[in-house]
Symmetry: C3
Subunit: 406 residues, 3 copies
């Protein structure tokens, strides 16, 4: 794989004269026109929860682009370039109307797809307004989430469905949340200050669960995780799967199947309730820019289920811990943020336990290449009949053979 060349250590391993370090830009730069940015843009991305899209314009930053998000008085959501096409004032100060949004400066009004409806001070309300357009992106709502497509319009795919979120029982519902990170469920951190890749590397990294959250630190998950698993990784057409099998003390054989889908979708089974079940949640790691990301998660829950429990370490939320407490009980955040805002991949020495990361990165780079050469990356569908994704992740007991396509 075309990873940056490994750092060559001096014979005595000293720090003097070590070469300059650098990130893998191909996987971490996400702005318009960048390799990874163009891959991300080929997929619908979840940019906000539906409940966050209101009649009050909101600033959002996605894949390095600052945009305005709002819902017109008819209920239609819009995602627009913020600088009014007239003279550049941000639509953040615009007034939301029945059919769109009007800029505060001279009142130019646009609908949710950027069509100019009115230029109040111009003769006849603007004789050329039909050819005037505020740059915009298409959006669609599903599962309580607002998805946006920021790629080339002629290659816009259908918005996918996931089997685990369909056919809900009468006692079930879908919930969604945004922000937060890792296993701490601490949503105080809406925007996480490091590269999306450092979270994506972690998603499949099951060994660190053993060290970081169990043996190493205080026990943060369920006791079953104390046992070292037998791990198997394999690629699928759309991503990477891993199976972790454990023989438990009570004789049961417990298999945990997790999956990652190109480019930034994870489906990890429940960590706290490991009864036999398919996974109940899907999480997107959404790059905000090169050194920030956020996350959007959809859950399938019983209507009666209480809100998700925030993890506490010695009674404190992560956001309440001091630096010293974090040194004493480091978690996902410390491990990942500790790599820097964008890690220096040139200094990595990947080991046998990093096979999942190697697989994931290899697949990302291959798909980046496909896109660069004009093709369609895996997982992108144009036919509505192909829009349903069958998820394989879950907690399974006794025997479970892996059968399906993701």
């Amino acid at each position: 794989m075309s990873n940056p060349p490994q750092h060559k250590l001096r014979a005595d391993g000293g720090a003097y004269g070590r070469p300059p370090a650098h990130p893998d830009y191909e996987l971490t730069h996400v702005g318009p026109g960048t390799p990874c940015g163009e891959l991300m843009r080929r997929y619908w991305q979840p940019v906000a929860l539906s409940s966050e899209v209101t009649h009050r314009p909101a600033n959002v930053r996605i894949l390095g682009e600052d945009l305005i998000l709002f819902r017109d008085k008819k209920g239609r959501p819009g995602l627009l370039y913020p600088r009014c096409m007239h003279r550049g004032t941000t639509l953040f100060y615009g007034k939301v109307t029945e059919q769109g949004i009007a800029c505060c400066y001279h009142g130019w009004e646009f609908d949710v797809e950027g069509r100019c409806l009115l230029q109040p001070c111009e003769p006849s309300g603007g004789r050329n307004r039909e050819v005037a357009r505020q740059p915009w992106y298409p959006v669609e709502e599903r599962y309580g989430v607002l998805f946006a497509y920021m790629g080339p319009p002629e290659k816009k795919p259908v918005l996918l469905r996931y089997d685990i979120f369909e056919d809900l029982g009468s006692a079930e519902e879908l919930r969604s949340d945004s922000g937060g990170f890792g296993a701490t469920l601490d949503e105080s951190l809406k925007i996480v200050p490091y590269s999306w890749l450092q979270m994506n590397d972690n998603a499949m990294d099951r060994f660190h669960v053993h060290v970081l959250h169990s043996t190493f630190s205080i026990v943060q998950f369920v006791p079953e995780f104390e046992v070292m698993p037998m791990v198997d990784f394999f690629t699928t057409p759309n991503g990477v799967c891993y199976s972790a099998k454990r023989k438990l003390e009570d004789g049961r054989e417990y298999e945990r199947l997790s999956s990652w889908l190109v480019p930034n979708v994870t489906c990890i089974p429940n960590i706290f309730d490991i009864a036999e079940s398919k996974a109940i949640r899907i999480r997107w790691i959404l790059p905000v820019d090169d050194s920030h990301f956020t996350m959007v998660t959809v859950y399938r829950m019983a209507k009666s289920a209480p809100p998700l429990v925030k993890l506490r370490i010695k009674g404190k939320l992560w956001s309440e811990m001091t630096d010293e407490e974090r040194q004493d009980a480091p978690g996902d955040y410390e491990a990942q943020a500790g790599q820097g805002p964008i890690s220096f991949h040139s200094e990595e020495h990947l080991a046998s336990t990093d096979r999942d990361i190697i697989m994931q990165r290899r697949m990302l780079k291959a798909q980046i290449k496909v896109v660069a050469q004009g093709g369609d990356p895996v997982g992108v569908k144009f036919d509505p009949d192909e829009a349903l994704v069958t998820v394989s992740s879950g907690n399974f007991y006794k025997t479970h053979s892996f059968v399906n396509q993701t």
Copy 2:
């Protein structure tokens, strides 16, 4: 006019693949040696109020240059390069003396024109001090304001006079203030965090008054402004004028004449008291640097007049408003700051209502060219007999024909 080429929209107007945006650097970069900076430097600029020039050295930043401002014990003002010519310590920590200022480090003393008076630790107080000079700029006081000339010394013009500030009656006085912006009269914002051009564009932009301050938002000015004016713009030798005529409900014809003088001087008639009168104030938009400016205004008032009223929106000063309140009642600041620290002029789509801005920018660029080719820009005078400017701005009723030269 050599504006940056207009942004070419995609056929469907989508935001994908839009070209990079950029400012008009020619009109916004103001440092030494830049086109606009060199134009600005050909004129005396108001750098502070006389009352702000004291025996305590003050830091000021003007046209991208950090300087020290003080008044020696004899009352003479000085504007010096701050880094002592000896070894660079800032004269901000200097001690003001009878005849100048002495650096705190080794006591080198300079007068208000940078002549070195003493080098205490050197033999004979400094044998070469006569050729030693702390870089300096000439200053002059008038109308309660300290003006500085930061251009080539051999082209220093006379400091101008304005007819509306001369021949005061016994019951009249001149007042001055610095800082603040637009129509809110909120002086909490001494240095405004965006380019001078975004304020300069606004000065003549009368349509936004109708939208931003009246129909669009809550009513912020006098009711007469609800009526859409008949507007006429025309250039004069030294700038741009505009005439806004309104037929009022009571039958009167009301003409409002405003003027802008190259490069950054505005003379806008009273907004709150529109009785027949010439304009009573002149305002300079002083670039602090490329993305900041401040303003200095001189007013002619009755001695008995109370202090100027700060505008309140729903009882609050602008500086007390929350983000949400500013979204609900946006004013000049939101409209101008909302264009960014330096607007991206390459994305503008100027319309028929922007004729004034087009005229102003065209004139600025023409004068920038004159200066670059070694000539003298308009409005610069070297003969004291030509130092008086006759201002034409004002609120006028019935008939008023425009007769004079500015």
Copy 3:
């Protein structure tokens, strides 16, 4: 001397058109591979007090390099590159163990010289761990201070001894402190926000003592300093010395000898107690990076001596003073910080009273050249028998002839 060319003043000394200013990069840039950085790296540098090296990992920044400092459970100190060689997580969140430190992410354990002891998740604890090495620097403790050597390993010298710190009497002890600056003894400023050179220039600059601390400001030192000294500077093999002789009012002749050793070591006699004595302290000016430094000082004191007195100006510590109070009573900090984060040496006009600075800088540049050409700079010893430095600094009365080598 190859100082940047002097700023050429315009005939009238005006500030218009002055050339751009710049630092002397050769003496101020201290990162790996820079001329000054490579000179600094040839010497053991004091990076922390021994008391600051604990079982809790600490972040330190030295010569532009971010490092981790800790003491393993056996009491051995370690200075490591912070990014774990596995996947880059900072060892700041590592767990200190009996024999080293273990990364929080996957538990890789390293000893204080970076040898990899264990890779917990790898088969057999890591089959290749013997060739794995976390980049490290050698450290040694002496005089209550932790010294580090960050230069080429094959040129590592012996750690020096100083005669004034040897052979302590039973009633004597060595104390050490870090941070702080100049004569104010205010340790609130651990890391000082300007270039090390601005402090180094000050160390020998005795004239400013007369102006800045005495005549100019309020009296900050002892009355004897009011008298202008007869100063003599001379180079020694390892640095620069200066002798300041004063004839006191009571007839005594008082000589004060101070020395500076290449590249950043100062030995200044006691300022407050000027009884006859060799100097009792040595201070290192340690560059943190190009625009920050800190200091480490070792003192020889009586065990019964009270803690050092913090200087108060009108009853306030420096850190408690307002901007205006600092303008009224400027000290070393104002004079040095007032030159900027890195001074613009191209604008200097050095005078006869700056001979010491000229000597010091000339010697630094000469030693920089020696190192660049592969030689050993002065003061570096490889033979333990040559490790003792005889210091000449002190306060002396009647006659004192300068006899020794530093």
